[in-house]
C-alpha cells in the first residue's frame, strides 16, 4: 500500500493567490505513481481488516433490507406506517432522498466537465459510482411502494392482455422514464469512463483469472489514439446529454409533488429548489465518503484539500439556494393570499412536525454557514460533521415536504399524525447497507480514481532532458486541459 511521503507543506494547495495556479494534484506524482497508487488498492492481495468489517456490516444490513422487502411483498404495504391521510410515508421520503444523493456524481462528471473544471478528475469516478448506487437504493422504494410489486411492470408501455396503456399525463409515469433513463445513462457514462482504467488494470494483472475478467470488462481497449479521438468525442457528447438529464431528473421528481393540487406541494419553485437540494445533498455525500476513503487508501495528494474545499464551497452555495427556497415558499404563501397554502406553511413550521422542520433548517441553512470561514472549510473534522448534518437535514427536508403536507387534510376530521413502524426504520437503515455494500465492493475491485483523466491534467514532463525541442514543450497545466 502506498504511503504518503510528501510533507504537510507540499500537500496544501488551498492558496487563494491568483498569481499562482494552485496545483490540482500535489506530492511528487507522475504517470507511474498515479497508476501504481490507484491500482495498488485493487491489486492488494490481502483483505484489509477495516474494509472487511465495514463490508460485513454493510452486507448484513443489506440482508436485513431484502428480508424486509420479502416480508413486505408477502404481507402487504400495511407493514409500513403509511396510513390515510399520510399515504406517502417513508418509502417516498427515502426515494427522493436517495435520488437526490445520486445527483452529485453526474453533476461532477458532466457539468464540471463542460465547464472545464479540471479538478473534477480526482473525484468524478467515485462520485459517479456513488450516483449509481444511490439510484439503485432509490429505485427500490417506488418499486415496492406500488403494493403489488410483481405487477410493477405495468409502469412500462408493454402491450398486454388487458389492452391497456399507462397514463402518460401523470408525473408518476414521467418519473419512471426519468429515473430509468438516469440510471441507465449514468451507468453507461460511468462504465465508459472506466474502460481505459480497466485496461490499465488488465495489463498489470498477473493472475490469469484477473486478466480474463478485467480483460473482458476492458473490451480490448489498447489506448489507440484513433480510439481516443472517438472516445473523447463520445465523452463530451455524453456530458452534454447528461447535463440536462441530471437537471431534468430531480425536476421531474419534484413534479410528483408540484403537479398535484395540494397546498404545500403545488408551487412553481419546486423544480429549481429540488435540483439545488439534490446537488447540495449529493456533494455532502461525496465529502462524507471522500474523507475516510482518501485517508484509508492514502489518496490525500490526489484527492487534495482543495478538492474538499471546492466541494464545501458548492455545499455553501447550494445550501443558501435551499434556504432561499424555504423562505420563498413562505413569502409566496403570504403574497399569494391563499389561506390553505398559508395554513400549510404555518403548520409546517409550528405544527406537529415543527421539530422536523427546525432540524431541517438548522442542518441545511444554518450549519453550512460555517463554511464562510476558510479555516473551517479546510478542517477535516468540521467538514465531515457538517456533511453528515447536511445529509440528515436533507432527509428531513423530504420528510417535512411529504409528511407535514399530508398530515393536515382540508377537513380537520381527516387529520392524522404519521408514525413510522419498525419496518420503516429498518428499511432506511438497510438501504444504507445496500449503498455501502456496493460502494465498498467498488472501492476494492474497480479503479476509484479516473487514472487516465488525472494523468491528462498532470503537468507534462519535458520531451527529452537536454533535447533542443524541450524548450517548446508545454509544462504548465493550463496547456494540458482535457478536450
Amino acid at each position: 500500500m502506498a504511503t504518503i511521503t510528501a510533507g504537510a507543506a507540499t500537500l496544501d494547495n488551498t492558496g487563494d493567490d491568483p498569481r499562482v495556479r494552485a496545483p490540482l494534484i500535489v506530492g511528487n506524482n507522475d504517470y507511474t505513481t498515479i497508476t501504481d497508487r490507484v491500482c495498488a488498492v485493487v491489486e492488494d492481495p490481502k483483505v484489509r481488516k477495516a474494509w472487511l468489517i465495514a463490508f460485513l456490516t454493510a452486507v448484513s444490513l443489506t440482508g436485513m433490507l431484502f428480508a424486509l422487502v420479502g416480508y413486505l411483498i408477502v404481507t402487504g404495504v400495511g407493514v409500513w406506517g403509511n396510513q390515510i391521510p399520510v399515504a406517502w410515508g417513508w418509502p417516498i421520503v427515502n426515494f427522493v432522498f436517495w435520488v437526490g444523493i445520486g445527483h452529485a456524481g453526474t453533476l461532477i462528471s458532466a457539468i464540471l466537465y463542460l465547464f472545464r473544471q479540471n479538478w473534477r478528475t480526482s473525484i468524478n469516478r467515485f462520485a459517479e459510482a456513488m450516483t449509481i448506487f444511490a439510484v439503485v437504493c432509490a429505485g427500490l422504494f417506488p418499486g415496492i411502494h406500488v403494493g403489488r410489486a410483481w405487477l410493477a411492470y405495468w409502469l412500462f408501455p408493454i402491450p398486454n392482455q388487458m389492452l391497456m396503456w399507462p397514463q402518460f399525463r401523470s408525473p408518476l409515469l414521467w418519473d419512471v422514464f426519468a429515473v430509468g433513463t438516469y440510471a441507465s445513462v449514468s451507468t453507461v457514462f460511468w462504465y465508459m469512463g472506466m474502460i481505459p482504467d480497466l485496461a490499465t488494470i488488465r495489463d498489470r494483472a498477473k493472475h490469469p483469472v484477473r486478466r480474463f475478467v478485467y480483460g473482458l470488462l476492458a473490451v480490448g481497449w489498447r489506448g489507440s489514439a484513433r480510439h481516443w479521438h472517438r472516445y473523447e468525442r463520445a465523452y463530451l457528447l455524453m456530458a452534454a446529454l447528461a447535463t440536462p438529464l441530471v437537471l431534468s431528473v430531480h425536476t421531474i421528481v419534484s413534479f410528483d409533488f408540484a403537479v398535484s393540487q395540494l397546498p404545500g406541494w403545488h408551487t412553481t419553485i419546486f423544480p429549481p429548489y429540488f435540483v439545488a437540494g439534490a446537488i447540495f445533498s449529493g456533494f455532502a455525500m461525496v465529502v462524507t465518503l471522500a474523507i475516510p476513503a482518501r485517508a484509508y487508501f492514502g489518496m490525500k495528494d490526489i484527492i487534495t484539500m482543495r478538492h474538499l474545499e471546492n466541494m464545501n464551497k458548492i455545499i455553501l452555495a447550494t445550501g443558501m439556494m435551499v434556504g432561499y427556497a424555504y423562505a420563498m415558499e413562505f413569502f409566496i404563501a403570504w403574497y399569494g393570499g391563499n389561506e390553505f397554502e398559508q395554513f400549510a406553511f404555518i403548520n409546517r413550521a409550528t405544527g406537529p412536525y415543527a421539530w422536523a422542520y427546525w432540524i431541517m433548517v438548522s442542518c441545511n441553512v444554518i450549519s453550512p454557514q460555517l463554511f464562510w470561514f476558510k479555516k473551517l472549510r479546510t478542517s477535516i473534522p468540521v467538514m465531515f460533521v457538517l456533511a453528515i448534518f447536511v445529509n440528515i437535514g436533507m432527509w428531513f427536508e423530504r420528510f417535512v415536504i411529504t409528511i407535514s403536507t399530508l398530515n393536515r387534510d382540508f377537513l380537520p376530521s381527516s387529520w392524522g399524525y404519521f408514525r413510522p413502524t419498525l419496518v420503516d426504520i429498518c428499511m432506511l437503515i438497510g438501504s444504507f447497507g445496500l449503498f455501502f455494500t456496493l460502494f465498498l465492493l467498488f472501492l476494492r475491485f474497480l479503479p476509484m480514481i479516473a487514472m487516465a483523466e488525472v494523468k491528462s491534467i498532470l503537468p507534462r514532463p519535458a520531451a527529452h532532458p537536454g533535447n533542443d525541442h524541450s524548450s517548446s514543450s508545454h509544462t504548465s497545466p493550463s496547456h494540458s486541459e482535457l478536450h
Partner: protein, 417 residues
C-alpha cells in the same frame, strides 16, 4: 503476487495456444517516454506518408489528433439522429397509446396533451442519444476486440499506464522494418519491439463450442415458450403467483365466525331497523303491484301535504300535455293539434272511464314506465312524488264527477249563490 496464483498454473499452461504456431511480423512498436516526444514522432510518421499506423497512449494526449492527422468522427451526427428518433418515438408512443388506442379521460386533460408529453419525450431523446453515443463509439472503434497481436508485446502493458507508443503495421504499403527502425531511433524512441502474430490462429478448444452451443440453446428456451404462448390458445386463467387477491382472508356471507352471534359471519339487522334498499322489496310502494295485479289503494296514508305536493308535481310534469284539469288540453297538446301533425297521439283525458277504472297501481306504473308516446318519468320523479301525483289525479277525477252530496253541508249554501 496473489497467493492463489501458484495453484492455478494449469490455467497459465493452458494459456496461449498460439505460442508454438509459426509467427509472422505484424508490425513494429516504438516506445516513447513522454507525450511531447510522442507528438513530435507522430508528426514525422504522418509526414512520412504511413497509413496503417497508430499511437498508443495511457490518456488522451492533447494535440495528437493534429499530429496524426485524425479527421473528425461522424459520431455527433449519429447521436443527433438517435436523439431525434427518440423524440419522435416518444411523441408517437404517447399520442398512440393515450390519444388513439386507449383513450382515458383523467382530470379533464386532453387526450393528446403536448405539455404533458414533454418530460417523457425529453427522457427518451436523451436515452437514445446517449446509448447511440456509447455503442456508436464502440462500433466505430471496432470494440470489443478482445484479442490484438499488441497484447502479446512485452512493451505494450506500460502503454496503458505510463509509456507512449507508436505502432506501424507491416500491412502498410510503405512498411520497411529497417527504415522504420531507423526513423524511430532518430526520433528518440526509448525502445523498439517487433510484434509477431501467428500465421494461422489456433482453433478454439472443442469444449468452448459445446458450452457455447448449450448456452445458446438454453437461452432460446424462454423465447420458444413466449412464441408458443403467443400463437396458442388456452382456456386456463392466467397464473397468479401471489394469490392474495384470489383468496382473500375475509369472512364472506353464509360462513361461520366463532365470535359472532350464533356463529354466523353475517350479522342480523337490529330489531325495528331496515337496511338501505330494503324498501324496494315493497312491490306496492315501488312498482304499484300487488302480486301479479296492479294494486288498488295507496301504500301510505293520504294527507293534505301530499295532495299539495302532488298538485305541484302534476303542474310541472303532467299539465303541459294533460292540461291543468286533466282533460288532455295542455299547451303541448293544443299546439300539436294546431300543427295537425299526422303522428300525434293526443293525450288521454284523465276523466275517461278507462282511466277512472284503473287501479292506483296502474296509474303509478304508467307514470313510471310511460305508455304509447308518453315517456317514462320514473327516473325524474321519485316514488313518493309519483304517489302524490296519483293522489292528485284521483282528486281531479273526483272533482269533475262530484254531486251535491259530496260538498260539505256548511258550504253548500255558497254554491247556490
Amino acid at each position: 503476487m496473489n497467493p492463489m496464483e501458484d495453484k492455478l498454473r494449469w490455467l497459465e499452461k493452458a494459456g496461449d495456444a498460439d505460442q508454438e504456431a509459426p509467427q509472422e511480423l505484424h508490425g513494429l512498436l516504438a516506445e516513447f517516454e513522454t507525450p511531447e516526444a510522442l507528438l513530435e514522432a507522430c508528426t514525422k510518421v504522418r509526414d512520412a506518408g504511413y497509413k496503417k499506423w497508430d499511437a498508443l497512449t495511457p490518456f488522451p494526449v492533447h494535440g495528437i489528433d493534429e499530429a496524426m492527422g485524425i479527421r473528425m468522427t461522424i459520431l455527433p451526427w449519429l447521436s443527433l439522429g438517435a436523439g431525434l428518433t427518440g423524440l419522435m418515438i416518444a411523441f408517437a408512443l404517447q399520442i398512440f397509446t393515450n390519444g388513439i388506442d386507449y383513450k382515458f379521460l383523467i382530470s379533464g386533460k386532453p387526450f393528446i396533451s403536448v405539455p404533458a408529453n414533454i418530460p417523457v419525450a425529453f427522457e427518451l431523446t436523451v436515452l437514445l442519444a446517449a446509448f447511440t453515443t456509447f455503442f456508436g463509439m464502440m462500433i466505430l472503434n471496432f470494440l470489443p476486440e478482445l484479442f490484438h497481436p499488441l497484447f502479446r508485446a512485452k512493451r505494450f502493458p506500460r502503454m496503458t499506464a505510463d509509456r507512449f507508443g507508436i505502432y506501424i503495421e507491416s500491412k502498410d504499403p510503405l512498411f520497411n522494418r529497417q527504415q522504420a527502425e531507423l526513423m524511430f531511433s532518430r526520433l528518440g524512441a526509448s525502445a523498439l519491439e517487433p510484434v509477431l502474430s501467428p500465421t494461422k490462429r489456433a482453433p478454439l478448444p472443442g469444449v468452448i463450442h459445446g458450452v457455447g452451443l448449450t448456452l445458446t440453446l438454453v437461452a432460446l428456451i424462454p423465447v420458444a415458450l413466449a412464441v408458443k404462448s403467443r400463437f396458442s390458445k388456452s382456456d386456463q386463467p392466467r397464473i397468479h403467483i401471489i394469490q392474495d387477491m384470489d383468496f382473500q382472508e375475509k369472512y364472506k356471507t353464509q360462513t361461520a365466525h366463532p365470535l359472532l352471534y350464533q356463529g354466523a359471519a353475517s350479522m342480523q339487522p337490529v330489531a325495528g331497523t331496515i337496511r338501505r334498499g330494503d324498501l324496494r322489496e315493497d312491490g306496492h310502494l315501488y312498482r304499484g303491484m300487488a302480486g301479479d295485479e296492479f294494486a288498488r289503494g295507496f301504500p301510505m296514508a293520504l294527507t293534505q301535504e301530499m295532495l299539495v305536493r302532488g298538485k305541484q308535481r302534476f303542474s310541472i310534469y303532467c299539465a303541459v300535455c294533460h292540461g291543468a284539469t286533466g282533460y288532455g288540453d295542455g299547451l303541448v297538446a293544443q299546439r300539436a293539434e294546431a300543427l295537425a301533425e299526422g303522428t300525434w297521439v293526443p293525450p288521454l283525458s284523465l276523466h275517461e272511464a278507462v282511466v277512472l277504472d284503473q287501479a292506483e297501481g296502474q296509474i303509478f306504473n304508467t307514470i313510471t314506465h310511460g305508455i304509447r308516446t308518453m315517456k317514462p318519468y320514473g327516473s325524474q320523479i321519485d316514488v313518493q312524488d309519483r304517489w302524490a301525483i296519483v293522489a292528485y289525479v284521483r282528486a281531479l277525477q273526483r272533482s269533475q264527477r262530484a254531486t251535491l252530496t259530496d260538498v260539505p253541508p256548511d258550504v253548500r249554501a255558497q254554491l247556490s249563490q
